[in-house]
Subunit: 305 residues, 2 copies
């Protein structure tokens, strides 16, 4: 199983276009100290040849060109792609806009819950992906029900019932279809070297079920959006608290670091890191605390070995 | 008047994500010979401090970070932008998707025809730009009626009544509101050094009115999407001819080069160049023909001096 992170920032990226906070400013002036990060994007492959995108970030064009695994091959004709499909965990713009960059009449397979599919199909822009027959093939996925990505087994876990603001008229008893975590396993038997990875870049709450899943993994990739509940609000008045928009902060008694302190088996990484998170600065006390707590910040280009 | 091109490729960019044609392949292997190009984006300013974006490309996040004129300033508080507004000439995805990257609760002013505004307001994603009061201010523009951008006068010219596929239920007697060209002039009197620039990255036909406008300009930026009518179709079967999708090709008896051969006053540049256009290759006979006909290919970073 191959897995690579092509972007590790929350929506807006690092730096963020309209942000001159100390962190964004330092990132522009001293990228050695605060690395620029593209918006969150991951990809996974059973064989290192055909890849499945995990969500589709607005930076996807740049991410494809920066990662030659995703380049088309001149040996396969003029138009082709090693992208075998896209798995959506949410309908958030920062995780779906990239689909609209994959036009050019290329057939695509998109794995999504019925709810996420309905939200996107209701948006007129998505007609651009259905201009020719068989351009867009949907595969409906269901929380709790594993499916195969070329042999990598992927189990969606229900994490959120909350839809993005633009889709607020969609709703219902959708049992976690709005926001998923994904557990990947390499498909071999557990005792013969199976690898298990959890991908949860957006994490509103940690259930006992998720805790058990994390404990069974070799690597967990966890929501690192915010360091503290109030940091976004301190940067820009009128913006919401972290928990109210579905992100457990890293720090504090009930933050992710504390809640997952007992999970000792897997390698623990944060991804989806917001431009306001002080841990972005390598020389900050927050970054030191992250490291000393046994966590890493995922970075663009990080790969599972 | 300051004007800069931040992207000069047609939709998809150069190289294009799923294209392994000889040109895209060469661009990836030898970027000295075929320069990578971001998707078409321009910006204009009366003073070099406040900028107006001309359309909003899907590559806008990358384009902002690559051009420090567009960075926010730490002296102006934590959240700010030198982007004073965005002028839309069309509702094409490749020219409007970037608006969705300018969220983060930042107030925006968008100049668009009533038709383009209605198309975008009907799209649910655009609700993300109206989450707080006064986040999005529309200024309605009308073909033929000049308006001021901090003193730079901008005259919209009606070029097309054709809406993108995703918006095909919108229509009407909209007298060129679907696709505009823009004529900028620096506002001083004509005989005291006024500068005039035409920006027409998408050009379905050249009317007498447009010809007269071009002849009055110092610089014209013209649709360079295709070299020939059939080139897209030759790269990918089932795709349309250049003229049928609103682009006069460069070459041929009725191509842009021939039709504008009599326009000798302005500096003539092509922009919005598709990845299939052989003139992208500096050492091609087509590139030589372009140069010898008195034209230039605009490039990312090109500036009006």
């Amino acid at each position: 199983m191959f897995l690579k992170l092509l972007g590790t920032a929350a929506g807006g990226g690092v730096p963020q276009w309209n942000c001159a906070c100390a962190l964004c400013d330092l990132c522009r002036r001293d990228p050695e100290r605060i690395s620029p990060r593209l918006q969150t994007q991951a990809m996974i492959s059973a064989n290192g040849t055909r890849w499945f995108l995990i969500n589709a970030s607005p930076d996807l064009r740049q991410q494809i060109e920066a990662n030659r695994e995703l380049w088309p091959s001149a040996h396969l004709g003029r138009r082709n792609t090693p992208i075998a499909g896209i798995v959506l965990t949410t309908a958030d713009l920062d995780q779906v806009l990239g689909l609209l960059l994959l036009r050019e009449f290329q057939p695509l397979t998109v794995y999504a819950t019925g709810l996420v599919r309905r939200v996107l199909e209701a948006n007129s822009f998505f007609r651009m992906l259905t201009r020719v027959p068989n351009q867009l093939a949907w595969v409906e996925i269901t929380p709790g029900v594993p499916f195969s990505l070329d042999g990598v087994m992927c189990t969606p876990m229900p994490l959120s019932d909350s839809l993005p603001y633009y889709a607020r008229e969609f709703s219902g008893d959708d049992r976690g279809e709005a926001g998923l975590g994904l557990i990947f396993n390499s498909g071999q038997a557990r005792d013969s070297g199976q690898t298990r990875v959890a991908y949860t870049p957006s994490l509103p709450a940690i259930t006992d079920e998720l805790l058990a899943a994390y404990a069974s993994c070799d690597v967990i990739l966890v929501d690192g959006t915010f360091w503290s509940d109030a940091e976004l609000n301190r940067t820009q008045a009128g913006t919401p608290l972290a928990r109210s928009i579905g992100h457990i902060p890293m720090s504090g008694e009930d933050g992710t670091i504390a809640q997952l302190a007992g999970i000792t088996r897997p390698r623990k990484l944060f991804t989806h890191i917001n431009n306001t998170n002080p841990a972005l600065d390598r020389s900050s006390p927050e970054a030191t605390f992250v490291r000393e707590s046994g966590w890493e910040l995922g970075h663009d280009g990080w790969q599972l070995n």
